[in-house]
């Protein structure tokens, strides 16, 4: 009885952690939007600088896709960390510290998706 009450009390008190860059979710979302703007404006320069064989439209769709992959995140610290990593990628792309192959790595899938239906799992060797 006493232990369950203590766990309930511990669960109800919110854990206050030190923020990385932004204090709440709105500020984190603002940073995400700024990063998206910077990437959106950078894509045509990247396509011409690295002499990529893709169109600007394809590049921008890929940027949108990478941002949509993390759409579900709600923790501001995680969002901040992702924004920091995105900014690092942007800096490397702008200053041509990357090469063509590094930029094209976004376009090719390197990992196979995990199987979901029974037969694929069976062939792979997982138990259903």
């Amino acid at each position: 009885m006493a232990s369950s009450a203590a766990t309930r009390a511990a669960a109800s008190t919110a854990k206050v952690v030190k923020p990385i860059l932004s204090r709440d979710l709105d500020e984190a979302k603002r940073r995400v939007r700024e990063l998206y703007r910077a990437w959106y404006r950078e894509v045509p320069n990247t396509v011409s600088l690295f002499q990529l064989d893709i169109t600007t439209r394809q590049g921008r769709d890929k940027v949108k896709e990478m941002f949509d992959k993390n759409k579900h995140v709600t923790d501001p610290r995680v969002i901040d960390m992702l924004v920091i990593k995105g900014k690092m990628e942007l800096q490397e792309t702008i200053n041509v510290w990357k090469q063509k192959t590094h930029v094209m790595r976004y376009f090719y899938e390197t990992e196979e998706p995990r199987p979901t239906d029974f037969l694929s799992k069976f062939y792979r060797g997982h138990d259903p």
Binding site: K29, R30, R33, Y36, R37, R41, K64, F67, D68
Partner: protein, 156 residues
């Protein structure tokens, strides 16, 4: 549009240039040209020059008129037309369903990143930066028109 401004400039100068040869300095000073054109200071020299050449000749425009390049003044109508034109070009929006008051997220089904793209297109169209704190609140074409009118001092 610049050609139209130039034509008006030439026309307004052609009128005082005919009066130049008759030598009415006061009339010419009163017949002020468009606000964008500045008058040269040497009135007397010009009147003497054109009296030699006769009434029919209109002097070259560069002699009497200083021409500045500028865009035509913005009105609410032109802002609205330009905003709707840019939105119709955006491929994720269905142009039939687009109204002035349609909400981007609720009516047109766009994402927050799509809204960022739209605001960036507006920045490129009108040529001034829209900070993100205010850009996140603009959710329909009407609000965008109001915001641009506020920033550019367009009178309602």
């Amino acid at each position: 549009m610049a050609a139209r401004v130039l034509q008006q400039c030439v026309r307004s100068l052609a009128r005082p240039s005919l009066r130049l040869s008759s030598g009415h300095l006061a009339v010419r000073a009163a017949a002020a040209p468009l606000a964008t054109v500045h008058r040269p200071l040497s009135f007397a020299a010009d009147s003497r020059r054109t009296r030699w050449l006769g009434q029919s000749r209109i002097p070259s425009v560069g002699v009497l008129c200083r021409q500045y390049g500028d865009l035509p003044p913005l009105t609410l109508e032109t802002i609205k037309d330009r905003v709707m034109y840019v939105l119709k070009l955006y491929d994720k929006i269905n142009p039939e369903k687009l109204q002035t008051s349609s909400h981007f997220m609720k009516d047109l089904g766009l994402d927050s990143l799509d809204q960022v793209e739209i605001i960036m297109a507006m920045e490129d169209e009108f040529g001034f930066e829209i900070p993100d704190a205010e850009a996140e609140k603009l959710m329909s074409p009407e609000e965008i028109v109001q915001y641009i009118a506020d920033k550019k001092d367009v009178y309602e």
